[in-house]
Symmetry: C2
Subunit: 357 residues, 2 copies
């Protein structure tokens, strides 16, 4: 039986979290799947096959291919209000984005809140209003909830869990990359983590910087309709690069797809203020959390078409093709710098900025 | 805009919680429904209608009546291990029971954990193993999850959210009671709250008392097949009497069904040790949390048949008919004492034992 204590790195979205999940959680669970994507796939969510191959649907008469997608995330952000958003916006966007990168239309959300004694009720109302704006934008309801209170000495701030259900005909998986695919970032990276950090530390040199937190369904839906000649989706894989940043997402995609990814520094969309902040703090922007971005793999002949569609949406206007997929260096991610040198992009081992999501 | 601070009573499952949910949460949400039961119904879960009446399913070809049911609960139990169970068992049973009392077969669960720095990894493993036992018993998987860590100074113990999806043809609602219905308690009341309290306070006069925490689907499934002559379910309403106990559940059922409920003290199944503990602590056992019980309304001519089915299952062996429904005193619950006097059973205003679920 594993021993030891939980450290902050266990929740950092990198290697230590993977080992905790594998050794302590997955190893002790015998029932982990109800469809094409299960718990052990460690994707942004998991799926439930709705047809007679699923014993729970045996007695129902369904002639179409339907896959439900389910996702869950608990949020412990500090501070709860920050430039560009708040914990309510992040929690609803997080659920919507997890479904979106799996190609699933969000159909219903749940919200479970834990409130410490003494928490401001008007702050709670602001948070709920902020959640509602996103529900309106994506046209999806919160249909069920839970509210718990806890002594103020036991918890320092509000915690929100949002779980969600979506629907698709076939989920998009992070393991779907194929050699030749182009890699797209849907916009500027690292805005969320850096805006939280500068707010938390009280710096104002990036005072115009805001979190990118945004719900991506309306941006992603149209690119799912781009089909190859044999009727498959041109988009082969997607990922929501929150904790661990694009570095973690790209490595997961490379490992699960058993291919190599090469990205080019000069093509990566990053704000000057974010790049400067990263230099000052000694942070790698590839490892910093985003809350309104997608990493997208797409068949090469459709990459420009997908890029153009993304760019038409406000959340995708700064999208860029940043690299490509090959059979070289399988399971590895390589970054070519502006001067042409290359290095591996490693899986983050710790969390450069804790409590960002 | 509401002002003030959150107090422990806001999470107690009684009147103050209802007002917080109504004034701060529901009032600020415009999208709250995707099926027959929505957020504003404040039932044990909510439902999603899977047919062409739901725009999200418009393009799919589904000829049967299917209703998905979704539920969510976050758990902040102290202590996390107690006689008869632990926080892992409660979190999985809680989700399964919320679906079960809505008449829905659990098909998939999610689990989101927040771990304070320094939390014992072997305790975490015990918790996961305990969750797995229940998954095995009910034959339902955990398909997706989330793990966050937080500084030990910010949170005193593990928090687990479990959300779940179930399926039925028509949900059972807590608003379905009809005049004439019999009310059944599926077993001894108040075991969970009292076992947590005695463990927490270090008393040992109830050393053989254990929490009733158990997954109820296998007990409830067969009673859903009992049908009236016109093909309806004989079970008209069900509720999971956790926080606020049976007092809160009965009041909700009476208010939402717009009928009156009368229960008889002499018929209520309660352990002697629990009754004694309640006397010592000055607690009303009707207000104490249960984690493996159902309050069931059933058409009178089928009450004995339903009771016999319940009694065949280990979790229902102490089930009893405890009262009946009428048009008298609508929206109120009346208790007739052993000596024949009557009193209203009020909605609990506070939480006699916090952090039990």
């Amino acid at each position: 039986m594993p021993s030891g204590k939980i450290s902050m790195e266990h929740g950092a979205g990198g290697e230590q979290m993977q080992s905790l999940i594998g050794d302590v959680i997955l190893r002790n669970l015998t029932k982990t799947s109800a469809g094409k994507v299960g718990l052990s796939d460690l994707d942004d969510g998991a799926s439930i096959t709705v047809d007679k191959s699923n014993k729970f649907f045996e007695k129902f008469n369904i002639s179409d291919k339907i896959e439900l997608v389910m996702t869950t995330d608990s949020h412990v952000i500090h501070p709860i209000f920050f430039p560009g958003g708040d914990i309510g916006k992040v929690s609803v966007c997080g659920a919507i984005n997890d479904l979106s990168v799996m190609g699933a239309r969000p159909i219903a959300l749940s919200s479970a809140m834990i409130l410490p004694e003494g928490f401001s009720i008007s702050d709670l109302e602001k948070i709920v209003q902020s959640m509602n704006k996103i529900l309106e934008e994506v046209d999806v309801p919160i249909i069920t909830g839970d509210t718990k209170t806890i002594e103020g000495s036991a918890l320092d701030s509000i915690i929100i869990n949002v779980s969600a259900i979506g629907i698709c005909d076939e989920p998009v998986c992070d393991s779907g990359l194929l050699p030749g695919d182009k890699i797209i970032f849907s916009g500027f990276i690292a805005d969320h983590g850096i805006s939280i950090l500068t707010k938390r530390e009280g710096f104002d040199f990036s005072s115009d910087l805001e979190s990118d937190v945004a719900p991506l369904w309306n941006m992603i839906e149209p690119i799912l309709s781009v089909k190859t000649k044999d009727g498959k989706k041109a988009v082969t894989a997607m990922k929501d690069p929150t904790r661990g940043g694009v570095a973690d997402s790209l490595n997961e995609m490379a490992q699960k797809s058993n291919i190599g990814i090469k990205i080019y520094e000069k093509l990566i969309p990053i704000r000057k203020s974010v790049a400067t902040s990263c230099e000052i703090f000694g942070l790698d922007p590839l490892e910093i959390a985003n809350e309104g971005k997608a990493v997208i793999g797409v068949r090469p002949e459709y990459a420009k078409q997908v890029l153009e569609i993304l760019k038409k949406h406000p959340y995708g206007k700064d999208a860029a093709i940043v690299g490509e997929v090959s059979n070289e260096h399988p399971k590895k991610v390589i970054l070519e710098s502006e001067i042409g040198s290359t290095r591996y992009v490693n899986v983050p081992t710790g969390d450069p900025i804790p409590r960002v999501c």
